[in-house]
Symmetry: none
Subunit: 214 residues, 4 copies
């Protein structure tokens, strides 16, 4: 017997029988030479929005952080453990990625929780409540708008939050400096789970539109 | 023009022309009914070890946290931002996942950094140094064994660390209680980038072996 | 009746009826011309790891020393009986082998005894205890790592020991001189009894990997 | 590339493609349950006389010591390294084998060296000279018999030596005690490389005869 959920074992069997044989040379060179992805993606943990799926990415292409609601805590050089900051530092300083994409998505549970902060904490630690505190000011502003529907407020906060995270990224000196030198580009994107559509942010206006696929 | 790296746009075109059409019903039901993944995976950001690839997972299957070296900080109910703890709380309390898999992998840059702590910080914030401090005691013990090769020390720490993260998971009351009730199972796995092999941890002994694929 | 265990007699009947007829010319020329194996193997006595089986070797191919845990005592030109040193001298100086392979294996009882030296001696002579004293320093160092599982410690010491034996081989002047001249090559290998896999040591790094079998 | 002689790699490929698949269950149970061979064989390093070949033995059947000329140094509970004594102790006390076979063979290089002791040492350490000193008295007696041909003297000493080694085995208290209790049986055998014939010793008379193969 194997100490792995049966579904995962079946999936791994597929990987080994179908995908790995056709990509073994790539895996071997990635093992030998190390990874050198050009892009870092900061995405949500949501099971419906994996970056490798949406971008049809193979091994070695995307360096991926995933946390609830694809957030970036602002620069805080204290003595605490900062998982997302550590990944950012590693991607920018060690791997020297050329692009960072903050990728949000529709129907995000974390954003939903931020819009309904009075709900009972999920556990005494209230980790989600505190984590989503990173977008609390924007959530309050959106919540107060009684003219938008609940769905509109959710989508609005999802997109506002992406713009916030891009701003937080620029609080890290290494990001700011490299972006100013033109060696690093920041991007925003929002994935619509229902339609499969990806909406891409215009860096000048902050608006999200669908790219031309033809 | 599109404000997205060209390679990502090309990948997204593949997704929309090939994958989405065959899974549109699934995406639509996942949008309508919400996600209900049975499994949470805590994996590394490494571009060569995406859980969706290794487990050939489709939309809705895996709730995925990715940070450098797939770490789980121990339970700390203070007023700070805890990204991994927030994801864990959400997966266990809200999504009620049945399985949590900590998935490490070979040639992990974070583990390598932990084994060479004297290297200069990647940036003044030294976020990687502090983050990998979560496995510092184990790293010191392994580093001291001059009879093992550098590769052997790296693999040893990668596996020791997986066992540590499983122990850290159990410091969260909600994890411990549900595991004791038999409603949540914890798993460890280690992915070999070169060979594509997944080694699965025996929960009793802590040893890693390859599952029978026949 | 025959004064031989029945199972051995049956096996010998198989040899005479099946194998010898197809190899009689080879045996006859090996008898007439003497042996001239290119390779010496230093292997363990373990019944599950015979070099002729693992290397599918025929008569005349491998000159084989087998002792508990495939050890090589360091060069000691005193007046004692040195079985392994005698075999080494004969292989290198008289047979002029071109390769020496130290072949260890998993689940080695001798290595296990070295890791548990406090166990009661097997007999008052404590020959195993003294023999395994050849790897005592490495065993102590590995035993002290409480973060590795018992199986991991065992495998680590099995591989460290192979590297030690290769170093001991080089304490013999005849081995050192011929290796330096490029006329003798030393190799390390580790056999996995469960999977039948052979892991081969990289002479530069000391790491063990599986050869490509395609 | 692989750091293994090409011939050995080819042989290992044969093992993995032909033999292992048909015996994988046996290897797996031997790995899981440990070895429990009924027979220990003390044989020569000679490349033409592998016990597994002559007895058509599979994994797990024979615990095998191989040294030059299949010798057993007499019991000497001092503080030195005794490889053969260690293997004997392990086989008898830990594995509890039921049979020990001392298997000599024709055209043995070690026996030939014992019969020509005036030859120059193979190396300054003269390990072969000292090791074959274990049969020096018998070698002297045979050498002095000018009526026997060189071939006859060689065969005579090969067989005398087998009887000596059986006597040396009985100097080990654990062997003597178990043999007296009827729980351990000692055997002598001599393999003819040219004809493939095995000659078995009669324990009462010490004579060697060929078993009936019908």
């Amino acid at each position: 017997m194997t100490h792995l959920p049966e579904r995962l074992l079946a999936g791994y069997r597929n990987f080994m029988s179908r995908r790995y044989p056709s990509e073994s040379a790539r895996y071997q060179s990635l093992a030998r030479d190390g990874q050198s992805p050009e892009t870092m993606v900061i995405a949500c943990c949501d099971s419906r929005a994996a970056p490798e799926t949406v971008f049809d990415a193979g091994p070695g292409e995307l360096f991926v952080v995933r946390n609830v609601a694809n957030l970036v805590p602002p620069y805080a050089p204290d003595d605490r453990f900062h998982g997302t900051s550590a990944a950012l530092e590693f991607a920018v300083q060690s791997l020297k990625v050329k692009h960072i994409v903050v990728m949000g998505h529709g129907r995000c549970g974390g954003i939903g929780a931020a819009l309904n902060p009075s709900a009972e904490p999920l556990s005494p630690g209230d980790f989600i409540g505190k984590w989503m505190g990173l977008v609390a000011p924007a959530a309050e502003a959106v919540s107060g708008n009684a003219m938008m529907t609940a769905v509109e407020r959710q989508t609005a906060l999802e997109r506002i939050s992406i713009r916030y995270q891009l701003a937080n990224l620029r609080t890290f000196p290494c990001v700011k400096i490299l972006e100013d030198k033109g060696r690093l580009t920041l991007h925003g994107a929002w994935f619509d789970i229902q339609t499969g559509e990806l909406w891409v942010m215009d860096p000048k206006t902050g608006d999200f539109t669908r790219p031309d696929l033809d």
